[in-house]
Symmetry: C2
Subunit: 334 residues, 2 copies
Amino acid sequence: MKESSADNSKQRAIDQLKKARNTGDDGLLLAIASGNRSALAQGITRVETGHSDWLSQMPPTSKKSIRIGISGVPGAGKSTLIESLGMLLVDQGMRVAVLAIDPASPVSKGSILGDKTRMERLSMHERAFVRPSSNGTTLGGVTKSTREAMHLCEHAGYDIIIIETVGVGQSEIAVRAMCDYFLLLLLAGAGDQLQGIKRGIMEICDGIAITKADGENTSNAQNAVGEFTTALHYFPARDHGLMPQVIAISAQENRGIDTLWQMIQHAYSYLDDRGLVEQNRQTQYLSWLHEMIREQTVAQFYLNNKTAIEAAEISIKSKQSTPYVAANYILKNS
Amino acid sequence: MKESSADNSKQRAIDQLKKARNTGDDGLLLAIASGNRSALAQGITRVETGHSDWLSQMPPTSKKSIRIGISGVPGAGKSTLIESLGMLLVDQGMRVAVLAIDPASPVSKGSILGDKTRMERLSMHERAFVRPSSNGTTLGGVTKSTREAMHLCEHAGYDIIIIETVGVGQSEIAVRAMCDYFLLLLLAGAGDQLQGIKRGIMEICDGIAITKADGENTSNAQNAVGEFTTALHYFPARDHGLMPQVIAISAQENRGIDTLWQMIQHAYSYLDDRGLVEQNRQTQYLSWLHEMIREQTVAQFYLNNKTAIEAAEISIKSKQSTPYVAANYILKNS
C-alpha cells in the first residue's frame, strides 16, 4: 500500500517535470541556435559570470556533437595540434568549437599557461568558434562553466567540440567526465619523473599522441610510441574492450593529423555502435543533476541559517567551540 | 530594533553552543589522549570509515602540534627524508606522527605510489606513530579523513605531525591548508617539462629541499639550489614577508637534515611570533566548519527528497527533461 503510494507520487513528479521546462522566449538561445557566434560568446560569458538559470529553457538536446578532450603539460603542443586538427575538420565542412579549461593558480590567481599563440587561423574560420580560456578561481567553478559552455556549443549545432585542458591532475578527470574521447599529448623523452605523474591520466585516456615528431625528434617519437603502447598493456582493461592507441604526430609538418582523426572516429564509432556514447551521456547528465542539487541546497541553507552560522564562527574564533561541535549544533537546530 | 533582535538571537546561539559539546564519556578518546597508539590507530580507522560524529566530544585543542606538509613526485625521496627527519626529532625527545595522503587513481582504485620502503626504523620507535596511507576513492574523502586523523594525533599530544602527499596537484592545496609549514621535495635535473607542473605547488610552499644531493649528484643539486632560489623571486611575495628557502639534502648520507629542521623551526617561529600560526588555524577551523555544514546539508536534502530525485533521474534518462530543468524543479518544490 505504502509502496504504491510512493510510486504514485513518483509518477506525479515525472508528469510535472515534463511541464516544468521554462518555455519563456529567450532571444539569446534562439540566436545561439541559429549559429550566431557573438550570441554564443555572450551566452558563455553569462554562464561564466554565474548566471545559468536561463539554461533551463534549452530543450533536451537532439543533435549530438562529438566531444573531444585534449590534455597535456604546458609545452606539449596542445594549441598547435588543436589548430591543425580543427583546420582539417572545418576543411571537411564540419563546424568546430574549441573551449579551454585553465584553472588559475591558487596564489597569483593568474593563468598558469602564460602567453601563447592561440589558434589564429582556426579562430578566424567561419565554421569555427574558439573560446581561449574559462576564467575562475576554483576548479569546480571552471568545470561547471565549461560544461555549460559545452551545452551551449551543442545547442549551436557544432559537430565537434574540443575541450583543451592543462595537464595538472584533477581538471583532467573533470574533462574526461564530459567528453566522448579523451586524448593525451606527450612529448618524447620528457623523462621518467614525469611518468609517475601521468599514470593517473594515462588510465583515463582513450588515445595518446606523441607530439613534435619532426626533425631530430622523429626517431625518439617513434620509440616513445612503442614504449607507451607497451605501457598501456599494464593498465586495467576497459569495460568496453577497446585499447587506447598511440601515434606520433607533427603539427608543424602536418603529419599524422589525419591518422589521429581516423583514430578518434574509429573509437567514437566503436562506442556509439554499442550504445556507450549515449550511456556515457546519461551518466553525465545524472551526475550534473546531482551537482546542481548539491550546490543550490547549500546556498539555500546558508541563506536560511545566517545567524546561527555567524554565531558558530564567533564561538570557534574565541575557542569556545570546535568545528565538529558547531556543525553538529547548527544542523540539529536548523 | 530588528538589528538588535538579530544580535540577541546570535548571542543566544553562542551561549547554547558553549553547552552543546557532547560530554558523554568515550573510552577511545581518553585512551588516545593517554598516548595509547593502538587506540589512535583505531580512532583513525573509525574516521576513515566515515564515522566522525564522536569527534564532537573532543575539547577545543589546547596543545599545538607543529604540522608539516611534505610533497614531491614519486621517486623524490619523501619516505627516506621523513624517516631521517623523524629519527632526528624522536632522538631529541619529541613525539612524531606521520600521516600520508594517497588519493587512489580513478580507474584502478589502486595506490599510485606502489610498493616502497615505509619508514621501518621510525615506525618502530616508541615516540613515533606512522600511518602509511589514508584510503579513499575521492580526494575530498581522503582530505577529510586525513584532517580528522591529524586532530586525533594532536589530541594524542604529538609534538610534530608530518603529512606526506604525492605531488599531483589538488591534494597539495588541501594539505597546504592544514599545515603550518609546507615543504616541497625536488630532484635536481628532473627536466624543464616538470617545472610547468610544479609552478602551482612552488607558489604555495614555505621551503624546498633538493633531495639525493650525494655522490655524482652533489654539484647538480647545488646548482639546483641556486636556480630555484632565483626562480622563487619571480613568485608573488607572501603577505607575511618570509621568503621560502631552498637547501640540498642527502637522506642517505644524512646530510642537511639538521639544517632542514632549523629552517622549518625558523619559519615556524617567525610565523608564530606574529600570531600567524594561530590566525592560520582559525581560518582552517572556519573552512572545516563550512565543509561539514555543506556535506551534511546535502545528505539531509537527499534523505528528504528521495522520490522527487528518483523521478528526476527517470525523466532525464528518458530524455523528457534536462538536468537544468529537473534541478530547478526539485529545489523549488522541496
